[in-house]
Each structure stands twice: as structure tokens, then as C-alpha cells.
């Protein structure tokens, strides 16, 4: 039984604003729970929900066709009676009347509203919005626009050594571009990965012929109508043909703010995804957990979070048992390097290192009170699978055994605790 309507009556109309991974998952999860009510999904983009991770990798490389990006085939939505409105943004939420107003000025009633509005690439004030040669990477159209510019020898500056910057750098280098990554921090992926992993990835990019320059920011963008280069904060002029801005994502909270929902770099939600208004949920990249003290916690931007948050919200909406929160995990592929991460480590964490005898595989572990809190595995996929279990079992671990590559990681799993 749902808590959103009269006793004995489940919510019958769910409206979803947003058409990304979280929205697609919510629909599947609702229908898998047997939800038989009306579902409407509004997508800003003119495309059914698709996978974003390949946009900087296989899709940019031309190794994956556009229709293979779709999370579900078009027939799924008609087969499951989902009213899909692609290319139709929602302009306004009227929470008192429980209605949304879309770009065609039509209103749709809801019992439960789910905001899955995601985010948009962050920009910098010094970058003119309409300058040719300046690119971002978030949508299929962004990748398609970038692909039309790519040619052998194209000089590209990637602003930001985060996941988007590094993955795109790897793909563009593979396509023959000359690549420079400029990163303000002292190392790439500074905010999220162990220093040892940053170093390995840096070396991989350098081996492939890219320049990665840390501790370097941009003071000025050169060019009038068209991008011509940058002046760094150390006064150096760098000429280039194309700028890719990868300095993070901004949560799309405008609709939620206008509806009076509590927001703070994301829409604040409880463990079920419920916002400050009981019949409005938020899931995926835009949702930020509200901590017990009312402050915002870590807002996750990941496929895993989109999926898990959608599953929890769907269970709550239909009144089913809500699945327990799982340890977040992430991945990144750059050239042939495969990075898999599970758990969130505190800033400036101390990392233990496990290196295979041939030096190829590196796993970094962050312990808290002797228990595994986070693991980051580079070209060590097996370690990643076992690390997930070691975190779930919350067992105490001996650092000496954890870092000894001659002891199989799986032998450390305490069978009794599984």
C-alpha cells in the first residue's frame, strides 16, 4: 500500500521529469514491482534514455552505434504503457495542484512526481557561451559535435583532469589528436582517487603521447568568434584548435527550487529519495542525501547511484520493501587501463598498496578501524569483486596480508561473516 494516497489505493499517476539512466531504471523497477498505474516521462533531449558512459569512450571513438546507446529499445515503452514525451522539457511544477506544465503548455497531473533532471556541464565565466571550438561532453549531441571536429593533428586542450577530461583525452589521442590536459590540482583525479592511481594513469597518458600538466589553471581564453588558445595562470600562451571543458557538473535544480523544494547543490532527499515535499522524489545525479543534521552529504554522479536510487524510490512509491543502501561503486576506462572503485574514502586518506609481481595490477585499499572502507583497483578486476565482499562483510583485515600479492585476496574473506 502506498503512503501517497487513500488507504487501499496505490498512487496511480507517476510523472518523471528527466530521461536519463535513473528515469529508465525507475520505469523498469516500477513495472517489475507490478505497478499498473499511468507513467509519463518527460525528456529534455530528443532521444529515449541512453547510456552516458560510452559518450567519452566507445561512442566518441566510433566503435558503438548510436542506437546501441539506448538503455531500452523503443518498443519497451509502448509494451509497458509508458507515455514518453521526448524533446519536451517541463517548465513548471505546481505542487499545490499536483501538476507539471510542459513546453507545449500542457498540464499533466501526478500523484507522485519524480525529478531525475540530472546535471549540465559546469562552465567558467571567462568562456564565452557561443565561441566556436569550445566543447563540453554530457550528451549524445555533445559527442556528435565533437566528432565532426576531430581530425589527425587537431590541437586540443582539455580543461580539467577529471574523469571526463581524461577519458576524452584518451579517445581523442587514439583518434590522432594532439592532446594537452590542464589540471589545477597537483595531480589528476585528485578529489577521488589514491595518489598511486593518479600517478599510474598520468604515466599511461604520457606513454601515449599526451601532455598532462598539473598545478596549472587558465587565466584567459584567446579568440574572438573562434577559440584559438589559452593563457595559463603562469603566463604561458598555448595555441590550440579546440577546447574541451571538463570541470564538473552542475545539478539541474531550477525546477525544484521554483517549486520550493529544499536544495543545496542538488535536491536534498532522504534515504528513499523523498524530497522536502512528501509526494516528490528526486533520483540520480541531481539528488543529494540530507544528513541527519540537515546538511547535504556527498552527491554521487554515477550509473550505480542512478540505478540504486531509482530502485529505492520505486519500492517506496509502490509501498514495497526498500532495498538496503549498497556501497557506491564507479569505473573508468582509459586506453587499456581499467579502473574500478568501490566505497568513498575521506579526503587525504592513507592508502595501502597491493601490486602484482609483474607490476601490472595495482589495488589501493583504505582502511577505517581495521575494516575496508574503499578500494580502487587498476587492471585488477578480480580484486574489485573481492573488495566489494570485504567491505560488505565489515571484517577486520590485516594490512600485511592485504598488501601481499602472493596471498589471494579471496582467502582473506571471512567465510563466517558472509
Amino acid at each position: 500500500m502506498s503512503k501517497h494516497s487513500l488507504p487501499g489505493q496505490a498512487a496511480s499517476r507517476v510523472v518523471i521529469v528527466g530521461g536519463g539512466q535513473a528515469a529508465a531504471q525507475l520505469i523498469g523497477s516500477l513495472r517489475s514491482h507490478g505497478f499498473a498505474g499511468h507513467i509519463v516521462m518527460f525528456c529534455d533531449e530528443d532521444m529515449l534514455p541512453y547510456q552516458r558512459p560510452p559518450l567519452s569512450k566507445k561512442f566518441l571513438l566510433g566503435a558503438l552505434e548510436q542506437d546501441k546507446l539506448l538503455i531500452r529499445k523503443p518498443a519497451y515503452y509502448s509494451d509497458h504503457e509508458v507515455d514518453v514525451r521526448v524533446g519536451c522539457p517541463v517548465l513548471k511544477i505546481d505542487s499545490a495542484a499536483r501538476q507539471v506544465v510542459d513546453a507545449n503548455h500542457q498540464t499533466s497531473d501526478y500523484d507522485v512526481l519524480v525529478l531525475a533532471t540530472g546535471g549540465r556541464p559546469r562552465s567558467l565565466p571567462m568562456i564565452a557561451a557561443d565561441m566556436a571550438g569550445v566543447h563540453y561532453l554530457r550528451s549524445v549531441n555533445d559527442t556528435l559535435a565533437l566528432r565532426t571536429q576531430v581530425r589527425d593533428g587537431l590541437r586540443v586542450i582539455l580543461l580539467g583532469g577529471g574523469y571526463i577530461g581524461l577519458e576524452t583525452a584518451a579517445s581523442l589521442r587514439t583518434l590522432g589528436c594532439q592532446v594537452q590536459v590542464l589540471e589545477m590540482q597537483s595531480r589528476v583525479l585528485e578529489r577521488t582517487v589514491a595518489p598511486q592511481i593518479s600517478q599510474r594513469l598520468l604515466e599511461e597518458h604520457q606513454r601515449q603521447g599526451s601532455q598532462i600538466r598539473c598545478n596549472l589553471g587558465v587565466a584567459e581564453i584567446v579568440g574572438d568568434q573562434r577559440f584559438q588558445g589559452v593563457v595559463t595562470n603562469s603566463g604561458e600562451h598555448i595555441e590550440a584548435d579546440l577546447l574541451l571543458v571538463g570541470v564538473g557538473m552542475q545539478a539541474n535544480t531550477a525546477l525544484a527550487e521554483q517549486a520550493g523544494l529544499e536544495c543545496d547543490d542538488g535536491i536534498l532527499v532522504d534515504a528513499l529519495g523523498q524530497t522536502s515535499s512528501p509526494d516528490i522524489y528526486a533520483i540520480g545525479d541531481v539528488a543529494r542525501p540530507r544528513l541527519p543534521d540537515g546538511q547535504g552529504g556527498v552527491r554521487l554522479e554515477s550509473v550505480d547511484n542512478a540505478v540504486q536510487s531509482a530502485n529505492r524510490a520505486a519500492a517506496a512509491i509502490v509501498g514495497s520493501t526498500v532495498p538496503a543502501e549498497t556501497t557506491p561503486w564507479f569505473w573508468s576506462d582509459q586506453y587499456t587501463s581499467k579502473l574500478q572503485m568501490v566505497g568513498l574514502a575521506p579526503g587525504r586518506a592513507t592508502w595501502l598498496e597491493r601490486v602484482s609481481s609483474d607490476g601490472q595490477r595495482l589495488s589501493c585499499f583504505c582502511l577505517e578501524d581495521g575494516r575496508l572502507r574503499a578500494a580502487q583497483c587498476l587492471n585488477a578486476a578480480g580484486d574489485f569483486i573481492v573488495a566489494k565482499r570485504l567491505i560488505a562483510s565489515a571484517q577486520r583485515l590485516d594490512p600485511a596480508m592485504l598488501t601481499n600479492p602472493s596471498i589471494a585476496l579471496r582467502d582473506l574473506v571471512n567465510k563466517a561473516s558472509e
Partner: protein, 102 residues
């Protein structure tokens, strides 16, 4: 073409699919596996057991798939990751069982 699938709840079904579809996509689009990573051999949530009669008709696992399967608690001799299996006319009628979640 069709494939025979037994889902995690033990329910048998015949699913329509096309030559060139990845087995993982066929299952994930119907919410039968999580397939969080979208087929990058990263999450290992698309494990299936292949009917013994069909095992030898599949291309062998690569190193990465073997490494992941090696660590999965539910893995058996006939385990595969569905993201690594591309369906073709030769696999018309293949029978698989979705492995329990880890």
C-alpha cells in the same frame, strides 16, 4: 530468433532477439539482470549459466571475463558474463539461466 531464459525467480520464458544483439542487452532491457556497467566487463552483474549443450558453441572467455568469473561466489563451470556474448543465428534457441545476484 528466440532464446530460452529462466529468470532469478525460476520462471521460464522465450525471448525474441535479433542477430547481433548482446545477450546482456536482451536481459537488461527486461530487467532480468542489472548490467550496471552497460557491458564493459566491470560490474559482473550479468552472470548466466549456459545450458551444457550450448557451452561449447560459444566463443571462449577472454582473460578479463575469466578473472571476474573466478571471483564470483555463484560461478559454475558453465558460467558466462552475458555482456560478452553476441547473439547470432547459430545461437538461435540457446538456453540460459540467470545466475543469482552476488
Amino acid at each position: 530468433m528466440k532464446i530460452s531464459v529462466i529468470d532469478r525467480a525460476g520462471q521460464a520464458m522465450a525471448l525474441d532477439c535479433d542477430n547481433g544483439d548482446r545477450l546482456m542487452d536482451v536481459l537488461a532491457q527486461r530487467d532480468l539482470v542489472e548490467a550496471t556497467c552497460g557491458g564493459e566487463c566491470s560490474c559482473a552483474t550479468c552472470q548466466v549459466y549456459v545450458d551444457p549443450a550450448w557451452v561449447s558453441r560459444l566463443p571462449p572467455q577472454d582473460e578479463l571475463e575469466l578473472e571476474l568469473l573466478d571471483e564470483l561466489l555463484n560461478a559454475q563451470g558453465n558460467s558466462r558474463l552475458a555482456c560478452q556474448i553476441e547473439l547470432s543465428d547459430e545461437l538461435d534457441g540457446i538456453a540460459i539461466t540467470v545466475a543469482p545476484a552476488e
